[in-house]
Symmetry: C3
Subunit: 334 residues, 3 copies
């Protein structure tokens, strides 16, 4: 629907490189929404990462605020509770000087049976600028995006995508390892029910990483290989040549897998321990989207260890979300 | 208690009309509160509508914010959940650059048994400027208003009044039809339990409209005719000469009327359909305070159809609430 | 760990007093946190009270806002619901122009089993500046304080401390009675389960007041005398020579004491009534941290009477919290 523009400047080709070192081809963001990494080009992903890098510098200042979105309003529309993602988006918006309104399921008219589209149209009629939506139905963000002229940012829709999480994972990886292309990345845990896994797979494979998913057999979704990943249920194989692992949260409270009657058993079979890491590359990067179940997905020692970049992921999440909120509200006609 | 002032300028009477075309008599807002349309004069209603018109222009700007209430604090004190009204007030306050604090029943000390007046006095002691209160008891806003020196805005009290809703309905009607005087307006639905109906009746009759209420017999409150309205239980009669209809939300979750065992039956008897609209005036204006139960109060086609102004009502709600918050915080001594 | 600095200026000692009347020794705030009055020196308490006095003047202005914390973010992390304390901190932060994020237990990842320290580290990674924490476990604020480099302000931890409440009580007392030293102060109610009592005892005894606690025998905690207070279960004795009483809220909903099967019986034995006050000093100051149970801890007449400073406490709470948020974010190296 929307596409990336290459503003060619052919007259510059045979000249000296311009003094201000501007890129010869300018990439322009043209999408009003961010729905998933499946729908982004490599250049668009790169544009978000580049903007995030600039915004991360803002976070290092004493006054961590820029007036970029002053007068704009971001609504966090959360049909699933999530302190962590909601707070991150709220902070990102406030650092851009936007106003933020939080709407959570408990106190909303969702209980009164209003449809998602009607809720979205209402917010649009309230003249807000961005809806950040989390919903338990896959496709909810797409539905809103199609129905509305204002920007929609997907903060997680069912088992579909959680694009800003994958973008912050990729940003952190690149910061640590200098590149994505050619890296071996293993995603470990409940792949079947993970939008984080899905978004990471789309993004990482587009950027040229070799992705392995490692999960109990029951939690490997059918057709996952078609996304270009290797599949294993052997944690040691997943760790063997990995440059980085992304360890997913086990949602025992939501979907108790029959194959894993206890957290302890999961930890014994798939949990990341210092012992297991010894057999991996020395500088392996350990990621987790949080919140961590210590002693389930990984030991406390690993979570707090020198390979862990878990808290850096959190910091980078703000930068990524600032970049996304900036780009979708400044989309140019393609 | 408070009254509207006419600042007479008798010396101007025999002179040439002033160049800048200022009104000869200046209407001054003198009330610290907005409790209901029953207590407003025609001039005061007009003053709110005029200010809302100005504030609506602000909403059309790229930077939809004015510094009018900078440094002031508005507290949304909601004893009933309502995303829609709370969000509208929150946005209105933020567009005026006020700080906003949300207090909802679930997390409040109401559970601890504090009286409404003690809660109000506490907020007053916290040096806030406006309490926007929604409460399930009729008269709650009046109670607070009398106990406190700070401003109180009624966001719905029991079955009593919901003045900003009626004001935005009237604003929308006037915007669409150019006037209120002489219009035939039908209010359709559960009149007995509707503060929206009550506020609309007070406002519309004061401004000279002919108001008909249409409800199942069991949902016609006794004494309603004394407010100067016609009463019918025949939907076709309500539609016949109507310039506009205001279709109320059926609160099946709250007060299931025995007379209407099913939503379907309500829809068949009172629901607004395209077929029923064909027998009405061609340009009939269809309003609904939201959230809509599609297929109950009206069909989806009507809700989204060319006669519907439902989303314009939502936009106008922000303008009306900006006007109200501005006026009550800038009340002049009468 | 941290200590108060006295920047001595010996060369000024034998000189004329400086014209601008600056203190000869300058007290510097060096703590990044406020955990409890037990850990503060007299000079530190005085520093908070002095700053609160300045901030109280801000609250009297038409524009009750200063840019002191612009660009900073305060997170209210509340594991127990408390409208009143949360609202007071939120207002204090907003009056200082800080951004505020509210995280309450209901919608947070606490349900997902994340540890307090992990939650804290996440907030730190989000580059926020202050965590205001309320938790049902005594020591929670200390735990966070030790784990994090950002500021932690205790908004009540279990039965341990509620320092800002005691500070506002002391501020109010001094405002009313001109001093704390030598005053007779009785704290009345459920001493055993009261962090308000504990913080008041630490602060008042440090500042030289004579403190009596009055409670049903079952609600006198063991070892309380070692804090330097007198103990009685006779309400008349507690009132006899008191310059002020601090009447605690009875938490019937939380810890129903078997010794007091009914609120009425509590009121008859310990409730503050006009009749009981007649036997006390004429100008006795009546305090209550709120929310009041009228007819339980005191009669409505006393709560609203001329001795009551309950609403002034509320106002002073904002000033105290502004002072605390200012000081912890501007701590100097000791």
């Amino acid at each position: 629907m929307t596409k990336l523009l290459y503003a060619k400047k052919p007259e510059a080709k045979n000249k000296m490189p311009p003094k201000d070192n501007k890129a010869k081809k300018e990439i322009i963001w043209t999408k009003k929404d961010l729905i998933g990494l499946e729908y982004l080009s490599i250049e668009e992903i790169r544009l978000i990462l580049d903007h995030a890098k600039s915004f991360k510098e803002v976070l290092a200042r004493p006054l961590r605020k820029v007036p970029t979105l002053r007068g704009k309003t971001v609504v966090n529309l959360f049909y699933e509770p999530s302190t962590r993602t909601r707070t991150s988006f709220e902070l990102a918006a406030k650092r851009l000087s936007a106003d933020v309104i939080n709407i959570v399921k408990e106190s909303s008219s969702i209980q009164k049976g209003e449809t998602l589209i009607d809720t979205g149209r209402n917010l649009e009629a309230l003249k807000i600028d961005v809806i950040v939506v989390r919903h338990n139905a896959s496709g909810a963000a797409t539905t809103l995006s199609r129905a509305l002229n204002i920007s929609v940012v997907n903060a997680g829709d069912g088992w579909h995508e959680h694009p800003t999480q994958a973008l912050l994972d990729i940003f952190t990886l690149e910061e640590k390892l200098g590149k994505i292309k050619g890296l071996n990345i293993s995603i470990i845990g409940d792949i079947a029910h993970s939008r984080v896994a899905r978004s990471n797979i789309w993004g990482l494979t587009k950027l040229g990483a070799n992705v392995t998913v490692c999960a109990p057999k029951e939690l490997v979704p059918p057709g996952i290989k078609e996304l270009g990943v290797k599949v294993t249920s052997d944690i040691d194989e997943a760790l063997k040549d990995a440059d980085a692992i992304n360890v997913l949260r086990m949602q025992f409270e939501r979907d108790k897998p029959d194959a894993f009657p206890s957290k302890l058993e999961y930890f014994r079979t798939f949990g990341i321990t210092e012992e297991r890491l010894k057999k991996a590359k020395k500088n392996i990067v350990v990621m987790h989207p949080g919140p961590i179940n210590r002693g389930v997905e990984m030991s406390g020692e690993v979570a707090d260890g020198i390979n862990s970049v878990i808290l850096e992921q959190v910091t980078n999440g703000i930068a990524i979300r600032m970049a996304v909120l900036y780009l979708v509200t400044h989309a140019k006609k393609g």
